[in-house]
Symmetry: C2
């Protein structure tokens, strides 16, 4: 069965919407934040901990798993879910974004991309067919088409050619797809050009994907420009399909994305900054390594109910970081992922209760104090 | 209240004994293995995980906590238990072993030891009084006297002077002790000389400690020599007091130690080798990074019931190590600590059922297959 989006409610003040995404591995409440498990593990966390913090779906990276341990091995293991002991839904990206990010280490053609592995330097190829072959083998619940993501800034001509290629590749992905349980999402390109977004959306809608991502954003453009693009792009997408904004996970972008009608988000932000000692809290970000927390025996976030905040003080967390103890990375990661999941839960609740914009104001009145 | 040892049963074939150690924070079943939480955390683990694997007591290191974050800070936090969120018993060492291990970086005198911190190079002093002051502040359940631990090999004269000093320091520790809830254990020295062990034990027994450690072992001597020393030293100790063999944790040494009448053990061995990718299993040690486990979809230890073995394959664990993922360190640590705790539980059961030597043979018939 393919995923099916159920629209529960549209916000009266904004484009925000409340919904459910039905999958073969359970129902996901949207809008939702998906923690990232790049290499078949959400860094430092166990699946049980992710469930404890109510993670309903995670993302994993095709590029990384293709290179190591290899999709063939994961297929033999019984698929990615079994390999990593996670029985809730998984979304995999196409690997394209990582390959294109390699810069001079990759070459792009109509066929696909060739590149050198960051692990052993070996020459590798990623085509639309290959991206699907890998994701079919991983057996994720949601797969993404291979798209071409233009940099920012990029000329209209570049972006035009890129979106045309993205459509051709999308068709090749559909043709290559061989896993009936996997829902393949299309990716709308078109850069910062409204008419090109319209053209891309029109072409992809004809292919009738079960869900759509808005690609080519969060690539270096100013945030206001991203919000502007979202503002005119989401209305181009069907109401009965989920909308996914790739690679976005800061609190301001989550609220703005929801406001523009986005249902799904993912980002390494909470796990990455957590391992660097930064926490997102009700009252803004906290760098736990700061000397002022040396004898601070209060919780990381006084309004948080997560495992870390219930059991440990800032002084202890700071000690763990100063002493290079792994438990510090775990506890900060736990808090940050919990924080975003919890914030999304509160966003959904505010949508249900018709007070999304009020909640947004309340949230940032506190968050921006830091 | 000081700890109180209850002798439940003596083994008919060996010097092994089954007992309970009553503490202010619950009863410990002996013989027991104590996981090591050097810097106020058992590396990579949470307290909840340690409880899940039935850790009844942990050890923490005075030297490390003195230098970072400082015992003053931990005292302000409400003591080590509260600081690290562990409400079961904690044993702290005296810091002496770590200071003496600094070699040329430390100077030894009758007063104590001066040394340079491994963290910032600052000059520090550890005297018997200081070792007690620190441990009193940490508020551990069991504290250790500062002793002088001779290297191996060492002349009879060196060891003689050292044990005499250890007795003088033991008295100074008793005089300095200011925490009525903390049980201070004496440490028998005497190196590999039977008559010196006798002299040390005699002198320390006069000081009537609530427990005794056998020090100066596992310092580079052949294992058989250590077992020989244990064989004649444990009978020198009172039957109604617990006996602790410091820094020992390989399966063979645990069985031999129990056989010679030891009740308590600690060692960084399971956590350290785990983080290096080595597991202790029913069928011997396994280096998970080995290529032969690449497509091994069986558990780390087919006879183990721990979280790691119930949920993950060798192939996945190997992937986590190859990809430098922290979850790999967690899962291997979990298994190894669980393995030793479980082995000690089985040892206690075998003592209860009068089949300790049979169990020992069964254990090594399997373990030595690797």
């Amino acid at each position: 069965m393919l995923v099916k989006y159920e629209l529960l409610k549209e916000c009266s003040e904004t484009k925000a919407r409340l919904g459910k995404l039905h999958t073969n591995r359970g129902v996901i409440n949207t809008p939702i934040f998906m923690p990232v498990g790049t290499q078949a593990t959400v860094k430092t966390m166990t699946p049980e901990e992710l469930k404890e913090m109510n993670a309903e779906i995670i993302l994993s990276n095709t590029y990384h798993l293709f290179l190591r341990p290899g999709h063939g091995l994961i297929e033999k293991a019984g698929g990615l879910h079994k390999f990593m002991n996670w029985d809730r839904p998984i979304l995999t990206d196409s690997g394209g974004f990582q390959v294109f990010s390699l810069g001079k280490l990759r070459k792009l053609s109509e066929e696909g991309a060739t590149f050198n592995s960051h692990i052993d330097g070996s020459k590798q190829e990623l085509t639309p067919e290959k991206a699907i072959e890998i994701q079919n083998a991983l057996d994720s619940d949601i797969a993404m088409v291979l798209d071409e993501c233009p940099p920012y800034p990029a000329t209209r001509e570049y972006v035009y050619n890129s979106l045309k290629r993205t459509t051709r590749w999308a068709k090749r992905c559909i043709d290559a797809n061989n896993n009936p349980n996997q829902s393949l999402f299309g990716i709308v390109q078109g850069g910062m050009y409204q008419d090109l977004r319209e053209e891309s959306a029109k072409e992809l809608l004809e292919l009738d994907f079960p869900g759509y991502a808005i690609g080519g954003l969060s690539v270096g453009e100013p945030k206001n420009l991203m919000y502007e693009v979202l503002e005119y792009t989401t209305p181009l997408l069907p109401k009965d399909k989920p909308r996914y904004l790739m690679g976005v996970g800061s609190p301001d972008a989550l609220f703005e994305g929801v406001e523009k009608g986005i249902d799904m988000f993912d980002c390494v932000h909470p796990t990455r900054i957590g391992r660097n000692g930064t926490a997102m809290t009700t009252y803004g970000t906290v760098n736990i390594k700061n000397a002022k927390f040396k004898e601070d025996f209060t919780p990381l976030d006084s309004e948080c109910s997560c495992y870390t905040c219930r059991n440990y003080t800032r002084a202890y967390l700071r000690h763990l970081f100063k002493a290079n103890e792994i438990l510090g990375l775990r506890l900060m990661t736990y808090h940050n992922v919990h924080f975003l999941i919890d914030t999304m839960k509160n966003i959904r609740k505010s949508l249900e209760e018709d007070r999304f914009m009020t909640y947004k104001k309340e949230f940032f009145d506190k968050y921006d104090q830091s």
